[in-house]
Amino acid sequence: MSRYIQNFLKFRPLLSELVSRDIKIKYRRSVLGVLWTLLNPLLMMIILSVVFSNLFKFDVENFPLYLLSGQIVFNFYSESTSSAMSAITGNAALIKKVYVPKYLFVISRVFSSFINLMASFTALLLVMMAMRSELHWTVMLSPIPLMLLVLFSLGVGMILSAVTVKFRDIMHLYSVFLTALTYLTPVIYPMSILPGWLYKIVMLNPLTNILMMFRDVMINNMVFSIGQLIVAVVETVVFLIIGFYVFYRNQDQFILNI
């Protein structure tokens, strides 16, 4: 065990280099540079809130914020898992030549998305202020669901990246799956419009629970229940364990398949 920790510590600088590379390359040669990480979600949110305060109205108080908070959570999940999925295949050239702990590539992808998540979160706060919606003290609790979300996505990303090495089909399949998942997560609609059987299915989606926790503290001025928290923690831990296990079992085979 200590060998693993030592190895991780030795390569920890690599993690920050990889993350900063992702960010740098994304905004290279743009005038506003890194500012785009914040500006991008902010502009998107402004458009969405203008559209949705006038268009569709579900019976939800402050619908734009409902939608935006849902989007933050879901977009992070979809961005981080799909980029983590190609972490191993995308870095094939490196993995074939230099010894590096391979899980670092997956973690770095999830981390880069996490930075975008932080930016969108800031943008959401700005939008909330602009809309004169009240910021409650419960916002201070928002890191809890967000952390669970990041770890959950990391677990899923580990599984996906390991499986993708062997079966490239997963990449195409997963994008379809993500589209289905968008509608199985209450991003755009309130839970109350769902018929009973569908409600159960949507509740089975681990993202639903995390999203509801996030919304409670962000816009509903409520603290999530202990039950919700326990379910989320258990789901996260289970996916993390499966993720690392699958990854660990397969990592020596990666090089033969990339």
């Binding site: 690599l14 079966f167 033969l256």
Partner: protein, 244 residues
């Protein structure tokens, strides 16, 4: 003086499943396993190779193309895990396999120095302290803020060589890299390798130039189609190799 074991290659065999039977898709895999067609076209790149290297020695690997030299180096570097047998390495390994492998061509040379250093497991502070040395050795003072994609291949390998040879790693892997750059730079690289050897670094050296192997290495492993043909002192084996 008691000689200190630094690399132990113990009955290593390495099997590859040839690409002809590789399946990338789930559908193919299921169909083929149902039909029981998942047969592999096996290829043994290394067959039961064993040798030992002691600290301070320098080992040359010789053999024709496809004899398993690079596979051997990759198992020592930890990139490949042997199918059978084991490789034990007692010390830090600095790989110099195919220069520039760790570069991101969109980043500038300066950024790549830190990225590449991190790939080798060096911290930012350490890279900062070696930074000037790297710039000076690679002779790229005026190009540090240029994206590497605009570099010539010679410039890339100069930079990569300068990064890979910082510090005093216990083991240094040099795979066909002295053939890059102009004559003067080649000499500079060779001098650098020698000074690392003087400081106690063990060199693993692969080259098709038997003269280079002869001049740098004192031990030689001769691989032939994945089989260890000879292992021992450099001189007799090199002359036998030349005559074969």
């Amino acid at each position: 003086m008691e000689k200190e074991l630094i690399i132990k290659v113990d009955h290593v065999s390495m099997k590859f499943n040839l690409a002809s039977e590789k399946f990338d898709s789930l559908k193919e895999y299921i169909i083929k396993s149902l039909k029981k067609q998942v047969s592999y076209n096996e290829f043994w790149a290394l067959k039961d190779v064993s040798f030992e290297v002691y600290r301070g020695e320098s080992l040359g690997l010789i053999g024709l193309n496809g004899s398993g030299k690079s596979t051997m180096l990759k198992t020592i570097a930890g990139v490949l895990k042997p199918t059978k047998g084991s490789v034990s390495v007692f010390g830090t390994v600095a790989p110099l396999i195919e220069l520039g492998a760790g570069f991101d061509f969109d980043l500038t040379a300066r950024e790549n120095i830190f990225l590449n250093g991190a790939l080798l497991g060096y911290s930012r502070e350490m890279m900062n302290s070696y930074y000037d040395e790297i710039v000076e050795f690679s002779e790229l003072q005026n190009f540090m803020d240029v994206p590497v994609k605009n570099f010539s291949s010679g410039m890339v390998s100069r930079l990569a060589f300068a990064i890979a040879t910082i510090g005093t790693p216990d083991i240094m892997i040099v795979d066909e890299v002295l053939s890059v750059g102009d004559f003067r730079f080649q000499q500079k690289c060779e001098a650098r390798i020698r000074s690392m050897m003087d400081r106690g670094t063990t060199i693993l050296f692969v080259s098709h130039s038997i003269e280079q192997v002869e001049s740098i290495c004192n031990k030689v492993v001769w691989l032939d189609h994945g089989v260890l043909k000879r292992f021992g002192d450099a001189e007799p084996i090199c002359s036998e190799y030349k005559n074969s």
